[in-house]
């Protein structure tokens, strides 16, 4: 079979418009890593089990290894690279740092983005809700306790920051 034609893909990634093209079989994860150099999109299992490649698609956390780049056409993507404002970390990133919630760091981008999705719709999460929201993200260092603490602390900080 001859190689299928490239398909135009137009996306907004971390606030920047990007017009490109992709072979249909290219996953969004590979597209972000290879075309845009966003290597914070980590590839672990490559079949939708580990959560390391999580990104936000129109604000909702999804696994970029089981989404085709061509399917993201017209969407807004946020990767871990797009969370910090210049030198100031996102409150969830800062909380991960403060609570030693990363060891090898491989799962961290996915964990942080899954937490962003959670805290947007659930500003007062219980520990059970945090664990449920992060259940699709595997930490092979098994550092879950501090990850849950960090998300809980970030939720509190974000609630306080929003008060006038």
């Amino acid at each position: 079979m001859k190689a299928p034609d490239l398909v135009p893909v137009s996306l907004e990634v971390n606030g920047t418009r990007f017009e490109g093209e992709a072979e249909p079989r290219k996953t969004l994860a590979d597209f972000l890593r290879e075309e845009l150099g966003l290597t914070g999109v980590n590839l672990g299992c490559e079949h939708g089990v580990c959560g390391a490649c999580s990104v936000l698609l129109d604000g909702a956390v999804v696994r970029s290894c089981i989404l085709l780049a061509v399917q993201a056409d017209g969407c807004k993507i946020t990767t871990i690279e797009g969370l910090a404002k210049e030198e100031k970390l996102h409150p969830i990133q800062q909380a991960f740092l403060d609570h030693h919630a990363l060891q090898c760091g491989f799962c961290t981008p996915g964990m942080v983005l899954a937490a962003v999705d959670l805290l947007k719709r659930c500003p007062h999460p219980s520990e059970i809700q945090i664990r449920e929201a992060l259940s699709g993200n595997l930490c092979m260092c098994t550092g879950y306790v501090n990850i849950v603490r960090a998300v809980s602390a970030a939720a509190e900080r974000m609630r306080t920051a929003e008060k006038p």
Binding site: S54, V62, C65, I66
Partner: protein, 293 residues
């Protein structure tokens, strides 16, 4: 872990998707949320010549209340169903099953129609919708037809959909309100595929007794099956005010019947036992809800 090459078509209407499916991309697979299909492509367990992407088709994502029915568009994301107030109010069984599908990231992309058409025996939606006696509306070159959920799932990853049909909508009847309901599953880890699952709906008569029950098992069998011996037992024996000792006896009997029914479908001893236990737990929980109401 990369898919083999395939041709990609973005359908803009059901008609266009049907044309592709019966013409240019006759050997193609339909792509909805992709949460089952893309892993299969990555693992190269599936190597379709072409994919027909349905995500660009407008008007296939909705949850509406219609005359004595709830209608849900096939492209509705599971996450939208999870947070739907209408479903929580009208179809609490479905509302209980949906958060048990995979993880939030999966439900953000996964669609109702995709899960049903894929027909994984371990999936939650086929089991719950069989209990709810849903009608699955398929559209093909000859027009539309409605298929009862019980007739839709025909085996492992197999459905009554013809090669040239597309699942368009699911309609769930509301004529009978369940007095008690429960969806219970067991997976080794949170969010994993269920080893076994059971849906229970109890319908009351005017006198506070069980007029009928629907009890459906999934996961441990190749497709959702109604546990008819359990349904008959419950219909004959259950009312929410039953003496606790009697109820415990009935539930024990139900556990045994469920395990025996699954055994005739060829499930392993462990899965028969597990299904029996889950049936008992689901019935307990459904009866508890009925009692509280």
């Amino acid at each position: 872990m990369k898919p083999a090459p395939f041709l990609y078509y973005r359908a803009r209407s059901i008609e266009e998707a049907l044309d592709l499916l019966t013409g240019t991309a006759a050997n193609g697979k339909l792509l909805a949320g992709g949460q089952s299909l893309v892993p299969l492509l990555n693992l190269r367990l599936a190597r379709p010549e072409a994919l027909i992407d349905l995500n660009g088709i407008p008007g296939l994502s909705y949850i509406r209340s219609e005359a004595n029915e709830i209608a849900i568009g096939a492209l509705t994301r599971q996450r939208e169903m999870e947070f739907s107030e209408l479903l929580a109010k009208e179809l609490p069984l479905l509302a209980e099953a949906i958060p048990q599908i995979g993880h939030p990231a999966i439900r953000n992309r996964g669609t109702l129609g995709g899960s049903l058409a894929h027909a994984d025996p371990a999936a939650e939606l086929p089991c719950a919708l069989t209990a709810l006696d849903a009608r699955l509306v398929a559209v093909g070159p000859g027009g539309e037809r409605a298929i009862r959920a019980e007739d839709f799932f025909t085996g492992f990853y197999a459905t009554a959909l013809a090669d040239n049909e597309i699942l368009k909508e699911v309609r769930i009847p509301l004529e009978k309100r369940a007095a008690g309901w429960s969806f219970v599953e067991f997976a080794r880890r949170h969010g994993d595929f269920a080893l076994a699952e059971v849906s229970v709906l109890l319908f009351a008569d005017g006198g506070g007794r069980c007029a009928s029950a629907r009890v459906v098992a999934g996961g441990s069998v190749e497709r959702p099956i109604r546990l008819t011996t359990v349904e008959t037992l419950i219909q004959d024996e259950i009312s929410p005010g039953a003496q606790a000792s009697t109820l415990a006896d009935v539930l024990k009997h139900a556990e045994h019947l469920a395990a025996t029914e699954i055994q005739s479908s060829g499930a392993s001893d462990y899965l028969c036992h597990l299904t029996g236990v889950l049936a008992r737990r689901a019935l307990e929980s459904a009866i508890e809800r009925w009692r509280k109401a």
